[in-house]
Symmetry: C3
Subunit: 177 residues, 3 copies
Amino acid sequence: MGVVVVTGVPGVGKSTVMAGASEAGYGIVNFGDVMFEIAQAEGVPNRDQMRRLPVADQQRLQRLAGEKIAAIGNVVVDTHTSILTSRGYLPGLPEWTLRAMAPAIIVLVEATPTEITSRRAKDATRQRDADDVALHQEVNRAFAATGAVMIGATVAIIENHDGEVDDAVAQFRSLLA
Amino acid sequence: MGVVVVTGVPGVGKSTVMAGASEAGYGIVNFGDVMFEIAQAEGVPNRDQMRRLPVADQQRLQRLAGEKIAAIGNVVVDTHTSILTSRGYLPGLPEWTLRAMAPAIIVLVEATPTEITSRRAKDATRQRDADDVALHQEVNRAFAATGAVMIGATVAIIENHDGEVDDAVAQFRSLLA
Amino acid sequence: MGVVVVTGVPGVGKSTVMAGASEAGYGIVNFGDVMFEIAQAEGVPNRDQMRRLPVADQQRLQRLAGEKIAAIGNVVVDTHTSILTSRGYLPGLPEWTLRAMAPAIIVLVEATPTEITSRRAKDATRQRDADDVALHQEVNRAFAATGAVMIGATVAIIENHDGEVDDAVAQFRSLLA
């Protein structure tokens, strides 16, 4: 199958859903980790420095990370469709990253805004997100749709509702089958 | 005008709406038929075999079908914006197909999910679709929007509601005028 | 920062929101004006003639206008994400324009359909739009999302609600900060 990208807003329970990947013979990599490994090998000391690189350098690192991931073969990639910044929603899977990584499936893990807000509140380690959850999920769908048309990937939505996590994991595993 | 693509989820009544095309001087072709004709000329014996070709070959056939359709001139193309598969929503109009076919208009024929479900139930020949109709129509809008921005096509939505089919056909004909 | 594109349906109050740009050190240009200046220099006498040019010429003018704007540096661009035509929603920011202009932010100024309809009714100079406002805003979001993924721009939504214009202007200024 190749690369399967898994995305979702903070608090949606993405990691829980992805946990089924290894049984299906898939490793899991974090996109940001792969990107930072490449930056480190080029002498960038930490992630803060990486974020301050000129835009062209960051785009080059995103492309290289995408190519490195594509070379793995069967792999699940933990990343974001969009990131809410002070300047609006930034694509986490811009065109150059998508074309380099060439995922077969872009997975959106979703839940209701109420469920997500409640999960965030329970997570004491998480900085509170002032995010409009419904809008963020809508933007993610639109960004994912664009990526799918560019590269011919499928878009799969997995509903991760309260008390139905087994069902969400099963849905995810059936995508990898 | 050139190529006008008409799409819609199964059961929405796409064929009925398209029936007005010939009076406006447009032929109607089915994208999948054109693609299979090209595959047949290359020795592929049937559609099942075509679907089992390597992805790169299928993409090449899609591109060739798009080019063949673009060469016709004024033509209405019966196809899908997305197809629901076991791996999620697959773009029926991926970038390479769109660029080859270069439609002037991408038409989305829509109805309410209730209307569509009811029409499907009445069609005894149709395999029951377990499809989430509202989501499928939402995905189609997003995929069509992406295609439009890529090639500068317009996106037109035609509402094909119960008891208003004449209005839907008239809307479609006015697009071709 | 560079180019910041501001869009919104007719009547949403785009100009009011943009008024804060000059205090932040940004000029404001209208995309259509820049395009017409270039056309005039090529001998096109008026905007009607420009709209009747072959599609390839119009696309070339859009690209040139985009490049001219990108060369300005910090600038706010008044334009449309989509234009409602007799053939459906036409992308106001098609791929070639976006790539030439390379905006850092695509801003969508929005309000509720009721607010927008009421503002249009109060504006005696405006031709009445028979537009489905909710759908038009939905299409704008989808078109903006596509553009963002293509070039890595952020998408920012500014709500310009009745009685809260100061808040909308402040939101816009914070984007430029």
